[in-house]
Subunit: 441 residues, 2 copies
């Protein structure tokens, strides 16, 4: 039976909390994403978690309104952000005179959605977003730089081969126009988008329900199933000879983005046109992306986004086209964790534990300071426990090295460095200790 103390100490369902070794890995992933975003010149932005409900919900619909954490404090109706895009739109609208366009920003922060508790669904989770916002116009090349950035990140994160799947909404919309089903485009898009989840038969059934003619459904089904290399798909689509300006523009954009992304260093096999990627949201107007781990497609897209014509029409009259992508880091971490793909390491950033024996604390303190001056995370063992127990502390935390400082060491100016993994012990001068640890990192 759970006691009251047990209930008091547990987190709410859907709120992730990690143990030290897990947190260390999570933070490493976060740091990899952050440093890659900065490497590509994205500017950090941190907006409040709480905003006016009116602001956050200005454009939102059904599901969002249900899931949002909203409340009143005094007379103010406020809510917790459910994504990082709405705050970005508000921010850009609010600060447009002080920003330099194209405005490349990244944001890494927690967002909140009170979803029904299902396996793996988190209510508080990190999103890691980048967006490039143009002033009235935005070069199509930015659509190619986004997947190049993502490639850089997932190569470093090292969870195996992945594929960035890419499509263009103008191609879909142009096709709908030519089939005279533009009025149903939203529902058709949402149905196509479910292909991965529900399969071909169900999509076909869904489309039949929406689309008048069987011919149109057939064309759509054939369309989304067009396979091959990106080049082959483009070739096949061109052969359809669809006479529609939107379609044509979409094709040109998609070809250009594929070509440029490769020039920006994204290898061919990591980016692939997939005509079934539609991104159900109204929001997107051009390029759309989803990213999958080749070996674990069941995880679903680990990184999605796209191009939009206008970021902030609710907040400003200025036209702000943009392109962006988001990594749902908490969910990704959770899924990889369950599959045993997260390699656990140490439970602490400490690289070395300094232990003083024979009452040589003062020398040991100096040594500790010297290591820290060399940017080596160091702990001094204040314990009065027996040596064995002090070493056990390092062992339990996964601290890779210990140094023993005693009478002998002090007299000879040599220090005993013990590698906790190999068990190897060496007697070394200070500089050698420092070099070895710095080179180890």
């Amino acid at each position: 039976m759970k006691t009251n103390k047990d209930i008091l100490t547990s987190t709410l369902p859907g709120f992730m909390e990690l143990l030290p070794n897990e947190q260390m890995v999570f933070n490493d992933m976060l740091e990899t994403i952050k440093s890659s975003y900065e490497l590509f010149g994205f500017i950090p932005l941190d907006t409040p978690v709480l905003e006016r409900s009116e602001t956050l919900l200005a454009k939102a619909g059904g599901e969002t309104e249900k899931q949002i954490y909203r409340f009143k404090k005094g007379s103010t109706d406020m809510a917790m952000r459910f994504d990082l895009t709405v705050p970005l739109a508000r921010y850009v609208a609010n600060n447009q005179r002080n920003l330099v366009f194209p405005f490349k920003r990244y944001a890494i922060g927690k967002v909140y959605r009170g979803e029904r508790p299902q396996a793996g669904r988190l209510r508080e989770f990190y999103q890691c977003d980048i967006d490039v916002i143009g002033d009235e116009v935005l070069d199509i090349n930015y659509d190619a730089e986004i997947p190049a950035t993502i490639y850089n990140i997932f190569k470093k994160l090292d969870f195996g081969k992945f594929t960035i799947k890419i499509n263009n909404r103008r191609i879909l919309n142009g096709l709908f126009d030519s089939l005279n089903i533009a009025d149903k485009s939203k529902s058709v898009m949402q149905t196509i988008d479910k292909l991965d989840k529900i399969g071909l038969g169900a999509v076909e059934k869904g489309l039949s329900k929406l689309v008048v003619s069987k011919d149109s459904t057939d064309i759509l089904m054939k369309f989304v199933q067009t396979k091959g290399t990106s080049e082959e798909i483009i070739e096949k689509l061109l052969k359809l000879k669809i006479k529609n300006e939107k379609f044509k523009t979409g094709m040109e954009e998609l070809s250009q983005v594929i070509k440029k992304a490769r020039e920006f260093g994204l290898p061919k096999k990591y980016i692939q046109i997939d005509l079934s990627i539609a991104r159900g949201l109204d929001y997107y107007t051009g390029t759309v992306y989803e990213t999958f781990l080749d070996k674990y497609p069941e995880i679903g897209s680990i990184c999605s986004g796209g191009r939009y014509d206008n970021l902030a029409s609710t907040y400003t009259y200025k036209k702000l086209p943009g392109v962006g992508i988001s990594i749902g880091l908490s969910r990704l971490f959770n899924q990889l964790y369950k599959k045993g793909l997260i390699k656990m390491g140490a439970s602490t950033p400490t690289k070395i534990l300094v232990i003083s024996i024979d009452d040589k604390q003062e020398v040991a303190y100096k040594f500790t300071q010297l290591l820290r001056q060399n940017k080596i995370s160091t702990e001094f063992s204040y314990s009065n426990d027996k040596l064995k127990k002090q070493i056990k502390y390092a062992d339990k935390l996964g601290i890779p090295y210990i140094v023993l400082i005693g009478e002998k060491e002090t007299n000879e100016n040599l220090y005993t460095l013990k590698n906790m993994r190999s068990g190897k012990q060496q007697l070394l001068p200070v500089n050698e200790v420092i070099n070895q640890i710095l080179n180890q990192k």
Copy 2:
């Protein structure tokens, strides 16, 4: 008149939001704190922003209950954390079997307090906490390592000379015992704590109201005004010959902490005993700290904390003594900003903007990738604008370097590197460009 769009795009009062150049400085400060905490071996911990109200308020009283952001979603009564200490207590209680003690953790995150809007009072703000938690016992030396860590941080932050003021609650409590005013210790402590804000006269008046005899008030006033170097203060206090075990223990602890902090590299003039530091909170039982910028005492304490006997009595039967300190970074940033003490730099992490002229994009892309492989934050200019406008983009953002790549550069394998600050232009091979930028950082 404010239009509806203006209201929609503003943040709530008390919620800080920064422009890019400000955010860059803020993040640098955050990073300095984080890396120093890790340098001293503190383990990162990230707990949810939302918790059960019952959990967060288990021990809280008046002001906290009024200020907390609390609401119901479905049948769950939840609230946003108002500090990082209560979540730490819950976490340690919940995970005690999986943690290694002493548990040294740091936490950097936003906390929420719906305070009445006053000048400078934030409702959402970052706290940067470290705590060391012992299992039943915790060595007094940790009380000395905390100020050594803080010294390391504020030296790097470089806002001028600061002083860590230190006292011990046992000294105060022992004195109260000897004056037979232990029953009023809380109110007396809170009155003394206001000395900096309300002045001597007002404290004396406040004490008279609380304490029966005039003699006791006189002794207290004399006590809190005891001045001199730390050594002199200790000497003067010992001369008082107060026969009280608590007082004696407090004196021993304080002397030991001062001595050890110096051995850990904290210069004498940065730490100073101040007997008027009481820390009004019930919570603290031994060492207490406050930190002041010498030139700007009006900012108040920029970093405070202390020793407590038991972290989590509400959540567990295990005794968990600890010592910790907190930097209120958002408030500190705000105060320094108002005083013009924040040195603004660039509005982007980008170190170099690559501009292709004469249609040499492919060479320029390769160059961009090479710089990024060398961990240099680089942007490629996709603009079709005139060169002058592209250079202006770099100028506005404060990007320190641009590289021009054209016909001549491509043929000769030499690249034009322009230092945007000095205006100096050099024709250099790739490696020289990389070296110059890496050495500049």
